[in-house]
Amino acid sequence: MPIGKYGFGLLALGAISALRAQELSAQAQVISLAASAISTLTVTIQSGGVQTIAGIADNAVTNFPSPVVIQTAWNVKPGQTNTVNLVAYFALPAQAMVGGTTQIPSSRVLGRMTTGLPVAFTAITQNGIGGVGTAGGSLGLFAVNIGGANKNANRTDNLDLQLNLVGFPALAAGAYAGVLNIRAVTQ
C-alpha cells in the first residue's frame, strides 16, 4: 500500500479534530449552606378538658367522670435533649379547688396515668420538674428518655383524676372550681 495514502488519512483526521470545540471547565466555586430546624414540643388535650362532679361526698373518694386524654408530641435533638417530661400542676397548691369559704388543697386531688409514672392514684403534691410546676403542687406524669429512635415522636395518655376527701372537714355547700395545668418540658 502506498505510504501517501496513509499520510492523507492522518491529515484529514487532524483537521476534523481542530474544528471541534474543546470542552473546558472553570474552577468550581463553593457556596456554603446552613439551616436549622428548631425543636418542637406540644401538648394537646384531646378530650376531658372539663371535669365536673355533680355531687361531692364528704369523707369519701370520688372519681372525676372521664379520663383526660393528652397527646404529647416532640421533635428534638438527642444531643441537647435527654428526656421529655409531662407534668400536671396547680398554680396554688393550697387552693387547688376554690369554693366560697373553703379551699381544697392539691393533696386532696389525685392523678393516675397507667401508661406513665403514677400508675396508682397519687396526690398532686410533688415538686416541679425542670422549672415546670409548683413546689408541693405538681405530679410527674411521664418521663421519656430521648434517643435517635424517638427524637421525633408522639404519645397519647389518659390521666384519671380523683378527689379524696377522706378525713377532710365537711365542705360547705357550693361550687368548687380549679384549674390543673398540663405541661411538657425537655431536659
Binding site: 470542552e23 468550581a28 463553593v30 457556596i31 430546624a37 418542637t40 421525633n152
Partner: protein, 95 residues
C-alpha cells in the same frame, strides 16, 4: 452549572436531599437540584443548569453577572430538629 455533591445537607443521620433545595436565576421559576450533569460537570440527579449561552464572533470575550436565589422546599417533609449544612458547587463549562 450548580451541583450538589452527595445527598444534600447532612445533620448526623438526617439529610435534606437536593430535591428539596431549589434554585433560580433571575425571574425564572424555582427548580430543584435534580438535573443531570452538563458535560463532565455536575452529578446525576443533583445538578441544576443555571444558564447556557451561545458563543459567537461577538462574544468570544465576555462576562456576565447573575443572581442565584436559593430556597428550601420542605413541603410534605418532616425535618428532624437540628442544624443542617451543605455545600453547593458552581462551575462553568464551555463545550
Amino acid at each position: 452549572m450548580v451541583w450538589h455533591p452527595g445527598p444534600g445537607a447532612p445533620n448526623g443521620s438526617d439529610f435534606i436531599p437536593s430535591s428539596k433545595v431549589d434554585g433560580r436565576v433571575g425571574a425564572t421559576a424555582y427548580a430543584p437540584f435534580t438535573g443531570a450533569p452538563v458535560g463532565a460537570v455536575g452529578v446525576a440527579g443533583g445538578s441544576l443548569q443555571l444558564f447556557s449561552q451561545n458563543v459567537g464572533a461577538g462574544s468570544y470575550f465576555g462576562s456576565r453577572t447573575d443572581q442565584l436565589d436559593l430556597r428550601l422546599d420542605l413541603t410534605g417533609t418532616t425535618t428532624m430538629a437540628g442544624d443542617y449544612t451543605g455545600t453547593l458547587n458552581l462551575q462553568a463549562i464551555v463545550q
